[in-house]
Chain length 153, copies 4
């Protein structure tokens, strides 16, 4: 796990810091669909959040957690409680992008995922997504289960 | 225009501050669609960005700027360069929400919109969306045009 | 209720037929968002399905059925089992469109909604959406409940 | 190319018919995201259209057409003019699905793509998507260019 001090606070915003330890980073690829573009001819800013969400699932899978099973068996979900994104350069239709995901901080109540989206090595977007854990049926927050804590440490 | 000092920096994140001057705030309503929900039974976190995008269009309309015409006539667009969101409480299917939008800062290169989404007076999500202005055909940033600057001041 | 014979079969496809009885039609309005557009500068073809979904909710509400409550109390949902759409003319950013929804057929197992999307009286898209009713926990189809049948007749 | 007679008309709706010649079919894979689900716990019906859109791009790529370049160089786009879908069984979060795409008909003005979405060999959704070709700047339909016609025959 990275120290949360690795995150650079820049004019009041969270800017992710890619860990030196490359084994801490999980990667997956996505292809930009037509539906992802908008009339400005570039990828809509919501789509990066979608890619980062998939990145969290892939991160957990790579660490041995089947998130689908986790939700079903535990009756829990992992909502986003904060999202801080910096858009650097636009992705375009049919681009192949790489999403890199890692964890910068785990506390009793929160897991902070950081992520960046790249195209040919160029960073297009980076951000920090803070998640909590909630009990779905009871609609209340719970402590981060050990299973997730271990996977993210 | 609000002073940017009105924005509270909270643990490294931008937290919006609703202006005392209620005339600075533009409101519109949205109804939560089935498509907006996810398997956790709540509104997906990307949807708040969609509502806030509509909020910026409605803000400009209320201030006399037809954003559609603006883009066409000027060949410009207003991309999001940063998004900082705090999710407080989930919206649910068929909820009627109110989106409040205002401008917290205008500089030569950036307009910072702040927004919050409410249901029956309860804040569900709030955030700051930083936008730039780009020339679409030349794919380069330009200064915020006077027309936008005036509308947002 | 309309006779299903009102639906015109045109080259193997369902084409909706607006009922003469205007009281059978429920209308709602939508504003085209930036996110709804794609790089061709027009509204993406999926968005019409989203508007028609909202149309079904509004149709039921106008007929006395609160669909949110219906799902919760009954443990049922109303999935789309067929969708047949004809796209006539593109909607564009910031257009205000009207969605007209009516029911063309109710059987023991299916409710067929028809809908069209208009802008200033021009039909942009029209289609027939066939829905079933399923018991969510048991994941099995059930007969259309009397409450829905009555609302749609 | 398949004869359009291969398409089975079933109660007024187009039902796709998978060609015997498996070389006519182009496949790609997709992973169901959390964002793709709705409160019923299954994939929203719009998502299949998104997968089928990607299928058309992959179909053309496999046949030697880079659709991105095609649009840019020709100033053309390929809008959906009809969509006819039959939903057989729901996809769920984190499923890996296979999308099979082929062309059932090419005329001077239309290319009809057929597609089906499978999970472990089970058909979840199948449909026919009819596309036209338009000149973007002039906003008018044009004949299907030879380049597309050849790729789809």
């Amino acid at each position: 796990m990275l120290s949360s001090a690795d995150a650079v606070v820049n004019r009041g915003r969270f800017v992710p810091h890619v860990p030196d330890d490359r084994t801490a980073v999980v990667r997956h690829r996505a292809r930009v669909g037509y539906v992802d573009t908008d009339k400005a001819g570039v990828v809509h800013h919501t789509v990066y959040l979608v890619w980062m969400e998939a990145g969290r699932i892939e991160y957990l899978r790579a660490r041995g957690v089947d998130y689908r099973r986790f939700e079903v068996e535990r009756g829990l979900a992992m909502p986003v409680v904060e999202a801080n994104l910096a858009y650097r350069s636009p992705a375009r239709f049919d681009d192949e992008v790489v999403i890199e995901t890692w964890v910068s901080s785990v506390t009793r109540a929160r897991i902070v995922f950081e992520a960046r989206v790249l195209r040919d090595g160029e960073v297009l977007c980076e951000g920090a997504i803070t998640t909590a854990v909630v009990h779905l049926a009871e609609a209340r927050p719970v402590s981060v289960p050990e299973e997730l804590r271990d996977a993210c440490s």
